[in-house]
């Protein structure tokens, strides 16, 4: 049984990481056509440095993802607080409505957004991308932070209030520190959702303002060069670093309760 389990795990890791490893390696291969034998070279990284559109799209992607993470995490956390700790009219409806967007195919959401943004005069471009990404990321944040809330007992805030804390102080001194790993996880989620986002970005980007996935897509259509491997590698390393930092602080899968 254990043997099978181990084999299974190794197979999964292999299927996940082999393509990525190949891609990273090819970024350092001399040949533009992925020919072997492998000859180490940094020429694609040098080429990348002078590929302004790709670099700009990469920077855009990161900036959008960062802003999305900040805004979506703040708004989503606030929504979570309301959903977990307060009672108000229409709460259950809101709770139900927040989740389907996760399951709705992005193509449909994207089309809807494009139509709505066009119709309402919001148009396309950076602001439209931001609005779209934030809207997309909020349900994930509410889900992650809401789950975190379940591990923080409500009577902790009450205890703080009995000791003289206002509700705001109780939230910031007790609930927030305990919720912090969930919030960090949610922010990472929001960041990833935005960074990954292709369909909606494709609809909302303008020729002058694109994100990396959109730029890569149009570059591939013109002809693939290993520069794309290079920037993908850089992006990947960045994401991995972020996730490792998160894992270091939040210990996902840690089941200690916070009572």
């Amino acid at each position: 049984m254990r043997q099978i389990g181990r084999f299974y795990l190794i197979a999964i890791l292999l299927f996940l990481y082999t393509p990525i490893a190949v891609m990273m390696a090819m970024g350092f291969n001399e040949s533009p056509l992925y020919e072997l034998p492998f000859t180490f070279s940094t020429r694609w990284y040098e080429a990348l440095l002078s590929n302004q559109p790709l670099l700009r799209a990469g920077a855009n992607s990161i900036i959008i993802a960062l802003i999305t993470a900040v805004i979506a995490t703040t708004l989503g956390t606030m929504a979570s607080v309301a959903l977990s700790r307060r009672t108000f009219r229409g709460k259950s409806l809101l709770q139900v409505l927040l989740l389907p967007p996760i399951a709705i195919p992005w193509l449909i959401t994207g089309t809807a957004m494009l139509i709505f943004f066009y119709w309402s005069g919001i148009g396309r471009g950076m602001h439209a991308l931001l609005i779209g990404h934030v809207a997309l990321a909020i349900p994930y944040v509410v889900l992650v932070v809401g789950t975190g809330f379940k591990t923080v007992r409500a009577d902790l805030e009450e205890a703080a209030m009995s000791l003289g804390s206002t509700p705001v102080h109780a939230f910031f001194s007790v609930t927030l520190p305990l919720l912090y790993p969930s919030i960090l996880g949610a922010a990472l989620f929001a960041f990833a959702v935005s960074l990954d986002q292709f369909v909606i970005s494709y609809f909302l980007a303008t020729p002058g303002y694109t994100t990396l996935p959109v730029q890569i897509y149009s570059a591939i259509r013109k002809g693939f060069t290993p520069e794309i491997n290079a920037i993908s590698t850089l992006l990947l390393l960045g994401s991995m670093a972020a996730i490792l930092i998160f894992a270091r602080f939040a210990k996902p899968g840690d089941t200690r309760d916070k009572r």
Partner: protein, 349 residues
Amino acid sequence: MTNVKVKSVAKTYGPIPVLTDISTEFPEGSFTSLLGPSGSGKTTLLRIIAGFIKPDEGVIMIGNNDVTNVPVWGRNIGMMFQSYALFPHMTIAQNVAFGLERRGIKGEAAHKEVDRALEMVRLWGFGDRTPKQLSGGQQQRVALARAIVIKPSVLLLDEPLSALDRRLRQEMQVELLRIQRESGLTTIFVTHDQEEALTLSDKVAILDRGRIVQIGDPETVYEKPLTRFAAEFLGDSNFLSGKVENGAVRLSNGTVVRSDSALPGNGADVTLAIRPEKMSLATADSQPNRLSARITTVIYAGPVLSYILETPDGLPLKLFAQNRDGRVLREGETVSLSWSPEHTIAVAN
């Protein structure tokens, strides 16, 4: 260290009245238990006094201040929760210092107070640990230290010991009483453990469906229950019903029972309560009140014997006897019971 007054407090949730016209006083330095079955409104009353719930009607006074419209954080209360509610991300010392900090007491002064409070609950030297490193009983002591270190006007406890096992619970009862006496804090303690209420309290308030049906010292409440509910909820009781006849009570089977309680006029219906341990097996020098009954069940519990009996007309009775001579009666035997008029209490239905 102040008295607490509750005046005409009422609370409803939707159509359901949870508390109805509660008026009572908790004297300075007293230990009062709120005792009642589940859903009787104990927690609601405690949380209204704490300020977590606003009453629909009525006034809460702490000392000479009307605090009805003061939120929890302005009331200076000490509260202990069933689940301890220690802050898991803080050390024990930080937990205890939390309320002090809110009152602007910091640094060396706070340090001293924290040490004193931890010493009081016998946890001196545990300050640097985290709540997770303590046992349930120890955590509950920290919660107590955290609540009393701020010198609250009143200490409110909602079943704080119910999560502890029996031995630890008894140990904590003793601790709690000692600390309450030492600190002189006006204390209100919610429980549905009647023994706990009797042993700890100066006063016991019995709640039934949102009303305080009786409040008094444990002895009075136990010996002189005012209502059938109080007689039944606190301890065990036998109930006899009949009609008043010439200053005594005639039961439906014709037996006449005397009571020292004030009885209503001739012909009125009345219910009498008699504690099972106040009844004894009749001997030559027995009490004037007598009934004969057949033993249906014998419960042998070592020092105490419980007999469940039935009178010929089908009335169930209970009798607790000290196991003094080692003689245990058998099921099916018919015996004569006797008890004194003093222990025959007329109760409201």
